[in-house]
Symmetry: C2
Subunit: 705 residues, 2 copies
């Protein structure tokens, strides 16, 4: 269990220095001066090594950044930045493993018997002086020699929980915060189905297949320790967390179909949450009595309960902090001070994580839903300055954390000390994830297509099948527990699966897109254009959705596949009644309460709530319609007058730069805004917008065709 | 030595969960299941408490932010945000101290004798299982009972080195990065004198006075343990680190005199560095032989050597990483991808810290010089987007870190377990810092005034005397080592001094300014204006100096205290020859090598370096003069043609918004650019600018007069 290493070099930079300072400052006579000096030297040495190990990672990331730039500059698309980070990690891992001296003498373990269960704090009497020690974890007796391993290897080995508590939250929050809301909500039903049902199906299929593989291994004598059914299920949960970051990056660059993008992104974001909670539930499945690891109905239902409890609890936590932030930013004039606003936003989002952890829920999941809530409500209340600040802040954090995790993965292949590579298990796992993904995508798509009018085409299904990469989340889940034989084997296998999928699938995305005839929009902009359009894009801070322009739709529109009203009708029928219900509730009550947008509450709430409605409604809603349009760029639809503020203004072909508002009056209908109508217009807006912006240059590119 | 607590809740959130996962995943039969479950529960409990304690701090910061907003909104200026943070910290500290149950039983220390010196890692055999412990530090025998203290109090107690390694670096980096370059360099000589000589003088005077106080205490029997002369000197070094953040915030708000601002800010930034290195040197002063703590020439010179070595080493480290970043950003087209650029900038700046620590220098000092270098060179190479991103990123980090430290200070007054408040010592310390500050400011100002043409007036001297607040740095230095009786007393006293100075001096700044008749510029803008002018200011990303507008100068100009050329002459004479030498070197060689600005190297370098010069000179320098003006807004002076790009464009009174370039040809002189002339124009530029921007509204405000 030597991975239970408490080395958070980042943080324990502290501990090293501390001791040095303590001793040098202590000065209790010169009797034990020599001894103190020795300890001090040691502490300093340790601190130095911590610094060096962190420097290694920074060097890695710097190299990665420079190479990414080179790749972007030369438009190399066969290798994604994460794949690159892994390669650099691998190289450094090899160097550390084979290039540094193997052991250092001064860390010999000291054994001392204790009768009771272990204490958290230990006082040790060393020749009359007391030293304080803290518990770091259990070491299995067979692995004691591992403690005396290469010093440098130990230094670069992070506590696995660092991933969960420090690196994943910004990644997940950013995913939620940058969710393309419009297309996400348009496909909400399908996304939820893929994320919940799909992940569960995938988990159980992979779990069962792997159990078969394990049985086989036992038969041929390839298994040297226990491997339970629950372990297999856990593996299924771990490996069901997809992370198509590579694919999505390429989609974004090529402006591929927005609906496909929304399906893939939405699924991957939510399925991370499902996978985390699923794995917790499986861990919680502990049958009572003697026959452990057999089926136990009570324990099973307990697990289901745990799943529901953790998931809904985390969801609530995330939503609540998001709502509180929205209310605070709405009812204070904090937007006059963007620094304060940004700091508050950051603190509140972080507190979600801590709150959820303090209540026993899952912080990472809570952070995801907090991100979505913040994007949906709070974002509208922020000043323009804070919008770009928060986006940029989390973008940088996300970027650093993600690349760090991927380069750490590369490193771990060589520096992790307890790899168990079993060829049978690995081959079985590859087949299992393939089958699991297939059993997840195709049947579900078939069922969903029964209900959808805008069908998910075969090409899309194949692309989703293909995009089932595994990434940071699978790694973080697998490294979390590498205590037993089975878990170590699972970890090694997961690592290989991540490598394989990121490199092969990531590199194959562009050919696959053209092979499947999936339309990609716009010609690929050159680097110079990128710097002027895509990045200006972020700079102006008015694109709430960060959408790739809806090229596919526009393509159809330009081809003239139907009049505008018919299209809107179709869209209307596509949205399920449940979603429509939620939408009208959100539009009529939540948005007006939490933001400065939407219809005044005084018109939507029953008249007996008059006073409350008046207090909660922002004065801007009444008298500042013009300002409203600028503040909420999420396709605000004012009463009877459709004004579309389109975020993607910098790529408009008429050459106008700077924010540009296309104002259109739709059909001249000036009835009172019913939520139904608002929804309809909201969903149809993008398509309509495209027709009004007909000057747009669109020539779809079949990349290699 | 119980402060040596390894509780980095932020980070050790990790450790708690880890153990839980380990055990629950382990599943080695059900024999020790109950025992495991108990440990797991405990670990979960600990993890939860960590989350709660961090939540406490986040709540504190959130409250502080909201109150700051309220204060800014109502223009309350008698209490600064840092003072506020301390008050909230105090309140929470009282609640934690007196409102929570005192001890919890399960952390009883376990003693076990070891013969040798302590190991870093400890393996403990608990009923057949091995647990790993790591060394946390020594506990003095008398203090063993402290280990069994209130759980919650322990959780909110951070490892003191967290301040040095995590919280101070962003604060210090931000200080360096946001240094008002122009006024800083104009007053460089005085600033260096105040920082180096002044801090040394202050340290020795305070140290000696305190030694007198200690002798007195020994006489009247108020001293219960040893207190050496070196301890007194250390106290002098600790308490010599001034931190006029409160005063500067008010200066900024009131647009007080820029030269005074530059003197105060520059002094405080550099004197932090001096104080850190000074305290390290004093700690390194360990006389050999039996008569410790007496004067030893060898040890003294060793200390001086340590001071020089650490200081110059840290300076070099900072400068080198800054230069490397500048070169990388100059010679790659990274500026097309602001995200990559920002990430690189962040990583390189962080690596300075680690590099310095790894080499045995002081990271915090290195970070300061890295910040200055980055601001002076790299900043010019960044894209407009990255300029604002990096500024904003470090601004947020700085804000959070600073307020965290100050609220922690408030907390520490009640939660720190080993306060020793000695009235005599405290009163002595207050008198000593007063005298130390006086002996530092007045004589030095007198000497400096002999050389300066633009004298430091008595009013300014009084204001500098008054602004000697102590803040985060003094606290971090004092809490770093609280192992002995003397250090504990020093820590408690430092805490009180910080409280007193931040509250009283911070609150008294505005009255003091008006009492001393120090001109403050511009009327105070209203909140609405602030949001439109001051914040836009940061938004456009073109103000390299973040100057308060040079109101004082303009005031004089408007009063007509001399023609423009005379003013320039005066400025010219003020700058010392050493500075002029450096300036010409910087202007002719460093700037052209490291940035896209300055004269082409082919003209400044001797002709035999032709090839090298050609390679190093950016093509932009030759053919892109127009772009140059926009990219380097640090008063770029092209050959023979004075073009002033003035950063402060948003407050121009002619109402033009957006970047606005004032182009002026000075005297029509079109000679070859000599560095002398460039310097002269550079320094004179601001004043000149003001006259050309004569439409500016300036009505100086004597606040209460």
């Amino acid at each position: 269990m030597a991975t239970a290493r408490p080395l958070l070099p980042l943080l324990l930079l502290a501990a090293g220095r501390l001791r040095a300072a303590e001793r040098s400052g202590g000065g209790g006579g010169s009797s034990s001066a020599m001894e103190e000096l020795a300890t001090e030297k040691e502490a300093e040495e340790s601190h130095r090594q911590d610094s060096v190990s962190l420097l290694t990672f920074i060097l890695l990331l710097t190299l990665t950044i420079l190479t990414i730039w080179l790749f972007k500059h030369r438009r190399v698309r066969f290798l994604h930045e994460t794949g690159l980070a892994m390669i650099y990690g691998l190289i450094v891992g090899v160097i550390l493993r084979y290039g540094t001296p193997s052991t250092s003498g001064h860390d010999k373990p000291f054994s001392c018997s204790q009768e009771d269960r272990p204490f958290t704090t230990l006082l040790v009497n060393v020749s009359g002086k007391f030293f304080e020690y803290t518990l770091k974890g259990e070491i299995s007796p067979g692995k004691i020699h591992n403690v005396e391993q290469n010093d440098m290897l130990r230094k670069v080995t992070f506590d696995p929980e660092v991933f969960f508590n420090i690196l994943l939250p910004p990644i997940i929050f950013h995913a939620g915060y940058s969710l393309k809301k419009r297309h996400f909500f348009r496909n909400l039903g399908s996304i939820l189905a893929y994320a919940f049902l799909g992940t569960a199906v995938s988990c159980f299929i992979i779990g069962n297949l792997m159990y078969g593989v394990v049985k086989l291994m036992k038969l041929v004598g390839q298994l040297s320790d226990k491997f339970y059914y629950t372990d297999c299920l856990l593996f299924g949960a771990i490996i069901s967390a997809t992370d198509p970051v590579t694919v999505l990056a390429i989609f974004n660059e090529l402006h591929a179909d927005v609906d496909l993008y929304a399906l893939l992104f939405g699924e991957s974001v939510l399925n991370d949450a499902v996978a985390i909670v699923l794995s917790s539930s499986i861990v919680a499945y502990q049958p009572t009595g003697e026959n452990t690891h057999a089926f136990d109905a009570a324990a099973f239902f307990k697990s289901v309960g745990v799943f529901l409890g953790i998931f809904s609890g985390s969801f609530m936590m995330g939503a609540v902090t998001g709502v509180v932030t929205a209310l605070v930013t709405k009812f204070t004039k904090l937007h006059c001070f963007p620094l304060l606003e940004t700091a508050l936003f950051f603190l509140m989002s972080w507190s979600t994580f801590l709150l959820a952890e303090a209540c026993g829920f899952t912080g990472v999941v809570a952070v995801l839903f907090c991100g979505i809530t913040q994007a949906h409500y709070t974002y509208n209340n922020l000043s323009v300055e804070s919008r770009s600040r928060t986006k940029q802040l989390f973008e940088v954090l996300h970027f650093l954390a993600e690349n760090f995790i991927f380069s750490y993965m590369g490193l771990a292949l060589f520096t992790f000390q307890k790899h168990i590579f079993s060829p049978v298990f690995i081959i079985g796992a590859f087949i299992a994830i393939f089958l699991g993904r297939a059993a997840h995508i195709y049947p579900l798509s078939f069922l969903l297509n029964l209900g959808r009018r805008h069908k998910i085409s075969w090409n899309f299904q194949h692309m989703m099948m293909f995009s089932g990469l595994r990434g940071a989340m699978a790694f973080a889940l697998a490294i979390r527990d590498t205590a037993t034989y089975s878990h170590q084997m699972m970890f090694s296998t997961t690592l290989l699966i991540v490598f394989f999928t990121v490199w092969i699938v990531g590199g194959g995305t562009t050919p696959m897109l053209s092979w499947l005839n999936i339309r990609v929009g716009d010609r690929v902009p050159s680097v110079e254009e990128m710097s002027e359009s895509r990045w200006l894009y972020f700079r102006v801070g008015v694109d709430p959705d960060q959408d790739p322009p809806p090229t596919n739709d526009s393509f159809q529109v330009l081809q003239g596949d139907g009049p505008d009203s018919e299209r809107r009708n179709r869209t209307k029928q596509e949205s399920a009644w449940l979603f429509r219900l939620w939408y009208s509730f959100d539009h009529n009550y939540l948005k007006p309460i939490l933001t400065h947008s939407g219809p005044p509450l005084t018109t939507t709430l029953p008249s007996w709530c008059g006073l409350v409605a008046h207090c909660l409604t922002s004065p801007q809603v009444y008298d500042n319609q013009e300002q409203l349009r600028e503040e909420d760029s999420d396709f605000i639809l004012n009463d009877g007058d459709l004004t579309v503020t389109y975020g993607d203004t910098t790529i408009t072909a008429n050459g106008s730069s700077g924010p540009h508002t296309a104002t259109t009056s739709l059909d001249g209908r000036r009835t009172k805004s019913s939520s139904e109508e608002a929804l309809e217009r909201d969903l149809g807006a993008a398509d309509h917008e495209v027709t009004t912006r007909g000057t747009r240059l669109v020539f779809p590119l079949e990349d290699n065709a």
